[in-house]
């Protein structure tokens, strides 16, 4: 996975609904048709980093099968960040495409 893209994917996943770590990892894998594999060892530090920056917030909740789990949700700052990063990502992808497939 590209450097820094995990943060963007987490933000995107949480934009739909609050989720706990396990769900976030699965969602990313599922949405990418199993192309993107989330390294669980790096998921939690990434969550911690995002929370520290104030882009996501956490709370303890109960999971689908009645387990206590730590849930994350997007904060308004995180939402702005998501928009910004998505725009930048699109720009980068377009730029790379122009280089790879010149008209």
């Amino acid at each position: 996975m590209l450097q820094g893209t995990l943060d963007l994917l987490i933000l995107r996943t949480l934009a739909i609904a609050p989720a706990h770590g396990h769900t976030i990892a699965h969602a990313i894998e599922h949405q990418s048709d199993e192309v993107l594999q989330v390294e669980h060892g790096s998921l939690y530090p990434a969550l911690h980093r995002l929370e520290e920056r104030g882009w996501i917030a956490s709370f303890w909740g109960t999971s689908e099968n009645n387990r206590r789990a730590r849930y994350y949700r997007l904060t308004p700052a995180g939402r702005r960040q998501l928009a910004e990063q998505t725009t930048r990502w699109d720009a980068i992808v377009r730029a790379i495409n122009r280089v790879l497939r010149p008209a």
Binding site: H20, H22, H40, Y44, P45, H48, E52, N65, R68, R70
Partner: protein, 898 residues
């Protein structure tokens, strides 16, 4: 945000642990749902998550300020190590505390005396006004500690100067204070009206002296008291203001108290009471007042520069107006003195650090003492470095294991340094505490009964910076090098080697030898210095001053304020002298103008065979039986007798040096000389009737100089305000003083009488030498001791390291004597190199002390010899113990050990 996380990081960590557990639980649930067995489900889940501890650690690290956490860990580890070896910790901290404490104490004094500016606003704007360049041609009466100006001269300076926004003058009288009880001395200040306003000092309570208080002929001048005096005499009661106190018999009303930090402008002294200068005639009534005398030097002056003026510019302006000012204040001088007076030029000099005579006499000794204590600290650090090296050696295998396991060298160095930092910090704190009492003791040891020394040794940023600097420097010396060395070893080699380790790499051991050599060399320098100062002190204590110091009491009667007319006073003195001499137990008593080594002396210009001598000759006026009382032998002729009064022919007794210098060693008896007089007055002629042994007069350190004595009644400038007696008696001091005091009281209760034994007078005159001797002696002994310990340590270590080899040697037939010689040979080599370097260093360093020595040269060969032999003996004793231990090894045991 970061900081709160830092402090709550362990709570966070728990939170993460719970989160990861919940992840595992969810994953396991899913795995079970996929049909795995419980064991499989758990293992798969763990595999997927990976190393949870690593994850937690990574998050934990995100929450820490990395180096703080690491440093804290290191410090805790270091503290644990030190707790495990309390003996080492104690020795290390104590020796460092002693070194830091001594350095800080001396520095505190230097700081107070030399570096610190006056505790007033903008001290850098202050400048002292005095005669620039050579002022040795000043003649007349000198009074107070800084006799720079006469009052007529000061008044012109005040009126004509332009460079200062305001100027003030002051003098330092000693008042007889009586506020109810018996009178006693009080340190006084006469200040002009602008004193406090120029310094910008504000009252703690009440008000201070203002310009309106200082008008010539003031009738009811106010008094301002210092904070210390207020505390001492009035228990800090605000009601002190408004109370009255009596100085020299005149009442003053206290109007205010100065702030705590204000001690005047003179570093080394403080004041009790300040009164306006216009009150001077109350203390010196009538013709004795100096206010209109053009040859009475008793004032010093300081000004505050106008904005935009530099000291140079103000100085130039003073210089420009000097000729007119000196012309306008010309005293009735002889022509050559007149010439000198008219040639004087005033100048301005920086006064941001105040003025100080203590500074002049103690600055050089204090820098020297600071260098001494720095060397002691260096030696102590070398010793610590040696101990640290030994500890590092003991931890060699541990370090090797950690290096092999992947610890970085920097990490291990940092961890070993933590221990040194702890020791340095503890030593610095203990040392700083020690310094406070040390510096107070030092100040107290400078104080004599007649010269109360006050030095404000309170801490300021310079002292704290100094302590920090010294402690860090020490830490670097004894900590960094051993730590670097310890991690230098190749882990593989260290692990492979036996119990003794490859630690004893030649290189590392060489460092310990170098340290011991340095210790020996530095100690020798200190021991030589100590011996020089101790001998200086002994020379001064035992020198033949020309009189016998023991059982001799100096008595001072002060009748200046008793209001007795002059001729009756003379008769009264006579009666006091005669009655004292008749007291049982008194061997002899005599009157003298200046008691030798008492702080004051007189000289006169004399004319011999019509030729005026270039140098003024020491002069003293005495009564009959003076030489008997002093124990000075008369070599020829006679003592003065009662018949040598003002009507009799003038006679004199001269010293050996007088006869040698002026009569080429011939018999002076029967010869005559004249004492020079003011122009137009006849020169009185004296016939020499006696020849006395040489005697010290003004200063114990000065060589014998020509000295003449005349009978008291024939002294042309006889003082009458006070009387000095010397009394020889074997009575206990308390009995004698109470007897004399009773006699004086009986004659006139208003006469103030003070006592001083000749012995204490002589001691007080060599306070500086005593201080240098005791301090340098102490430090020298300390240095020698530390060096001996260092040598002992290194040799013990050598012996332990060579156990095996020694065992083999003994098994092969070496006898004990040979083993002892072998160890001693090594000690001898280290010692010889150390002493060689030390001798060179000592010869160079002694030169710095030359001006403080008396009766020997800085390169006194016997001193050097004694020091070298002494160090060698101490070192030999320190080496003999390990050598003996080596020779007592059981070869079988030593060999089995391997």
């Amino acid at each position: 945000m970061r900081l709160t996380r830092f402090f709550r990081r362990s709570r966070w960590d728990e939170e993460r642990a719970r989160e990861l557990e919940s992840y595992l639980a969810i994953e396991i649930d899913e795995n079970l749902a996929r049909g795995m067995t419980a064991d499989q489900a758990q293992a798969a889940a763990r595999r997927k998550l990976g190393n949870t501890t690593l994850v937690r650690e990574e998050i934990y690290r995100m929450n820490t300020l990395g180096w703080i956490d690491g440093a804290w860990q290191d410090l805790r580890f270091g503290a644990r190590l030190l707790r495990r070896t309390p003996g080492f910790a104690l020795v290390a901290v104590l020796s460092l505390a002693l070194g830091v404490g001594a350095n800080t104490a001396i520095f505190e004094l230097l700081n107070a005396l030399r570096l610190r500016t006056l505790p007033v606003s903008h001290p850098e704007q202050l400048a002292r006004i005095r005669i620039a360049g050579d002022a040795s041609g000043m003649t007349g009466g000198f009074d107070s500690r800084h006799p720079n100006l006469t009052n007529p001269l000061w008044e012109l300076v005040r009126d004509r100067q332009q460079g200062f926004s305001s100027v003030f003058a002051w003098s330092t009288p000693t008042f007889e204070l009586s506020s109810g009880g018996p009178s006693r001395r009080a340190e006084g200040l006469w200040v002009t009206g602008e004193f406090f306003s120029t310094l910008d000092v504000h009252p703690l309570i009440g008000r201070l002296i203002a310009a309106a208080d200082d008008r010539r002929g003031c009738a009811a001048p106010p008094a301002v008291i210092s904070y210390g005096f207020w505390q001492r005499e009035y228990g800090a009661s605000p009601s002190a203001v408004g109370q009255s106190l009596t100085l020299d018999g005149h009442p003053y009303e206290i109007v205010g108290v100065t702030p705590q930090e204000f001690f005047g402008v003179e570093v080394g002294h403080t004041f009790d009471i300040a009164v306006p200068l216009c009150a001077e005639p109350f203390s010196r009534p009538g013709a004795r007042s100096s206010l209109d005398r053009r040859d009475a030097w008793f004032l010093a002056a300081i000004g505050r520069l106008k904005p935009g003026w530099t000291i140079e510019r103000a100085s130039a302006q003073l210089n420009a107006i000097s000729p007119a000012m000196f012309r306008d204040t010309l005293p009735n001088y002889r022509p050559e003195d007149e010439r000198a007076y008219l040639a004087f030029r005033l100048g301005a000099f920086p006064a941001d650090t105040g003025v100080s005579d203590l500074r002049t006499s103690y600055e050089a000794p204090l820098w020297l003492l600071l260098a001494t204590t720095a060397l002691v600290l260096l030696i102590a650090c070398a010793n610590l470095a040696n101990l640290m090296l030994a500890r590092a050696t003991a931890r060699e295998r541990e370090v090797a294991v950690r290096l092999a396991l992947g610890a970085s060298r920097a990490r291990i160095v940092r961890q070993m340094l933590a221990e040194s930092v702890l020791i340095a910090a503890a030593g610095a704190v203990a040392g700083a505490a020690l310094a406070q009492s040390l510096s107070a003791t030092l100040v107290a040891s400078l104080t004599t009964t007649h010269d109360p020394v006050f030095v404000d040794v309170s801490r300021d940023w310079r002292v704290f910076a100094f302590v920090a600097l010294v402690a860090s420097a020490a830490c670097v010396v004894f900590g960094v090098v051993p730590a670097l060395r310890a991690t230098h070893a190749d882990p593989g080699a260290a692990m492979k080697a036996g119990a003794r380790g490859a630690s004893d790499s030649h290189e590392r051991f060489q460092l310990r030898r170098v340290l011991v050599v340095a210790q020996v060399a530095l100690s020798l320098v200190l021991v030589v210095g100590a011996l020089l100062f101790v001998q200086t002190f002994r020379n001064l204590m035992t020198l033949d001053a020309g009189f016998r110091v023991d059982h001799l009491l100096a008595v001072q009667l002060n009748a200046g304020r008793a209001g007795v007319p002059r001729d009756r006073l003379m008769a009264l003195y006579r009666r006091v002298l005669e009655r004292t001499a008749r007291q049982p137990g008194v061997a002899s008593a005599a009157q003298v103008r200046n008691v030798p080594i008492g702080g004051s002396f007189s000289n006169r210009e004399i004319v011999i065979d019509g030729v005026k001598q270039k140098q003024a000759t020491n002069f003293n006026a005495i009564s009959e039986r003076y030489f008997e009382a002093m124990g000075t032998s008369l070599l020829a002729g006679r003592e003065f007798e009662e018949r040598d009064d003002e009507r009799a022919p003038r006679v004199a007794i001269v010293s050996e040096s007088f006869a040698r210098v002026y009569f080429a060693g011939g018999n002076p008896i029967g010869r005559t000389f004249q004492i020079d007089a003011a122009p137009g007055e006849p020169r009185p002629s004296y016939t020499i009737v006696g020849l006395a042994r040489d005697s010290k007069y003004g200063d114990l350190r000065e060589p014998f100089a020509p000295l003449m004595y005349v009978p008291f009644a024939q002294d042309p400038q006889q003082p009458f305000a006070n009387l000095q007696l010397v009394v020889r008696s074997t009575l206990p001091l308390a009995v004698l003083t109470s007897e004399v005091a009773a006699v004086v009281r009986d004659e006139s209760p208003s006469i103030v009488v003070t006592f001083r034994t000749m012995a204490s007078q002589v001691h007080d005159s060599i306070v500086r030498e005593r201080l240098m001797a005791s301090l340098s002696g102490f430090f020298g002994a300390l240095a020698a001791l530390i060096a001996a310990i260092g040598l002992y340590g290194v040799l013990s270590y050598t012996v332990a390291r060579r156990r095996n080899e020694i065992g083999i040697r003994m098994a092969l037939g070496a006898d004990r004597g040979e083993i002892v010689r072998m160890v001693m040979r090594e000690a001898g080599l280290l010692l010889a190199i150390g002493l060689g370097i030390g001798t060179l260093a000592a010869v160079g360093a002694a030169q710095l002390a030359a001006s403080l020595l008396f009766g020997l040269t800085p390169h006194d060969p016997s001193t050097l010899g004694v020091a070298i032999v002494g160090m060698a003996l101490i070192a030999a004793a320190a080496s003999y113990v390990p050598a003996l231990r080596a020779s007592r090894l059981e070869p079988t045991e030593a060999l089995r050990d391997e």
